[in-house]
């Protein structure tokens, strides 16, 4: 299972590196989206650092959707799907591998966005650093959930739009917990319970994925 996971993760990351889409497109998109969110809400709201964590996660969420989509697209052409299917890879391994690759990508993007939030939204540097581990866990959970939901919608008609519809509500608890723990890191407050919730969510998504990913794959 873990060998397959590493193999798949390496392949996904290599394809992503080759196209440079992350560097040239996804990250700039995130930065622009951050700026625009600030603009759309007007200075009164956005400059206010209490909106910072919320905006950060909102933008991260949309970036994550883009990346989940790309991660799924790698296997989406009918020919590729058929050839890869006949390799008979262990589905649990595929799930872990794709989640891992997605997670690495999300972390990279998350770091840039966090820097953006510190600069643009006046988020306090120290608070952001304290929040870093919780952000890491939240993004990891998003990666696992995203891979799971990606498999759920793969191959269907209009997969690219069905994916966000299904994932957004599923991400809601993650988003809330992430935002609260970030806020707690900034303004003080109980960090522990959010940590527990996030870790439980991550473990739960991983467990469901390892157990059920095979069931979701096409026929």
């Amino acid at each position: 299972m873990f060998r397959t996971a590493l193999l798949v993760a390496a392949k996904d990351l290599r394809i992503e590196l080759r196209s440079r889409v992350l560097l040239w497109q996804v990250v700039p998109f995130g930065v622009v989206a951050l700026l625009l969110s600030g603009l759309a809400l007007g200075p009164a709201h956005a400059g206010n650092s209490s909106a910072g964590p919320g905006l950060f996660y909102l933008v991260t969420l949309f970036v994550a959707l883009l990346m989940i989509n790309r991660s799924q697209a790698i296997e989406s052409t009918p020919g590729t799907k058929a050839s890869i299917a006949t390799l008979g890879l262990d589905p649990a391994g595929v799930f872990l591998g794709k989640s891992l690759a997605l997670c690495v990508e999300l972390w990279a993007t998350g770091l840039v966005l966090l820097a953006g939030a510190i600069l643009v939204l006046h988020t306090a540097l120290h608070g952001a650093l304290v929040a870093l581990p919780s952000i890491g866990v939240t993004l990891a959970a998003m990666a696992a959930a995203g891979t799971l939901y990606g498999a759920l919608t793969a191959g269907g008609d209009g997969a690219a739009t069905l994916l966000p519809v299904l994932t957004l509500p599923a991400f809601a608890p993650l988003l809330i917990a992430g935002e609260r723990s970030f806020s707690a890191a900034l303004h003080g407050g109980a960090l522990w319970e959010w940590w527990v919730i996030l870790t439980v969510a991550l473990v739960a998504y991983l467990a469901v994925g390892v157990l059920l990913y095979g069931v979701l794959e096409e026929s």
């Binding site: 193999l7 790698i74 058929a82 299917a85």
Partner: protein, 217 residues
């Protein structure tokens, strides 16, 4: 083991896709180690039959056993590990090179990656080994497909119109390959509009029409 055990056993196999019967009741047995050519008019159901045998589309009703695995109840993953599939469309990861695609397959199958060089040589792609698959010509993609299969050496080869877009050289190579494969005891089912070129192969011909077998010799 050759000849006397059926690798494919279909009885009244029906496959529906959005209400349309791709296969409308196929009865078919294919013995181990044999070479069969599936032929028939456009839309007769050749591709659908091969996809069913590869476990790529689900059986709607009837009985189907491939390589000893029941298609209705068995694990499709187990089946897929044992069949090789070469389809109309280019396959593989378009953004990876010929070599990288094959390394991925070899690793996934626990095969030594050292074979890759010779396999690529055999299918005549050595000069394009570091080209990304997206940039290959139609025939070169087909050759990469053959390389992939050579690396895997499956029990049951399912080849959908393998001649299409192969050049003369490629076809000669392909015929030689078929001979080898059958000689090694594997089973081959090919769909084609032209008869195979090498008469020495002497394949069984299965004629499809309207999603059924209508001729067999």
């Amino acid at each position: 083991m050759e000849g006397d055990i059926d690798v494919v056993r279909l009885h009244d196999a029906v496959v529906l896709s959005s209400g349309f019967p791709l296969l409308s009741g196929v009865d078919l047995r294919i013995g181990a180690g044999s070479l069969s050519v599936v032929t028939g008019a456009n839309g007769a159901g050749k591709t659908s039959l091969l996809r069913l045998l590869a476990g790529l589309i689900p059986l709607t009703s009837g009985v189907a056993t491939v390589a000893g695995i029941d298609l209705a109840e068995g694990d499709p993953r187990q089946l897929r590990r044992r069949v090789g599939w070469l389809g109309h469309e280019g396959s593989f990861y378009d953004d990876l090179s010929v070599r990288e695609n094959l390394v991925f397959a070899a690793r996934a199958l626990d095969r030594p990656t050292s074979e890759i060089g010779s396999v690529v040589e055999r299918v005549g792609l050595s000069h394009r080994i570091d080209t990304t698959t997206r940039q290959l010509s139609a025939g070169q993609r087909r050759r990469l497909g053959l390389a992939w299969l050579l690396l895997r050496r499956p029990e049951l080869w399912l080849l959908d119109e393998p001649y299409a877009s192969l050049d003369d050289d490629g076809r000669t190579f392909f015929d030689a390959l078929l001979g080898d494969v059958v000689a090694s005891g594997a089973t081959v089912v090919v769909s084609a509009h032209d008869p195979l070129r090498s008469a020495a192969l002497n394949p069984r011909t299965i004629l499809l029409a309207g999603g059924r077998v209508v001729g067999d010799n």
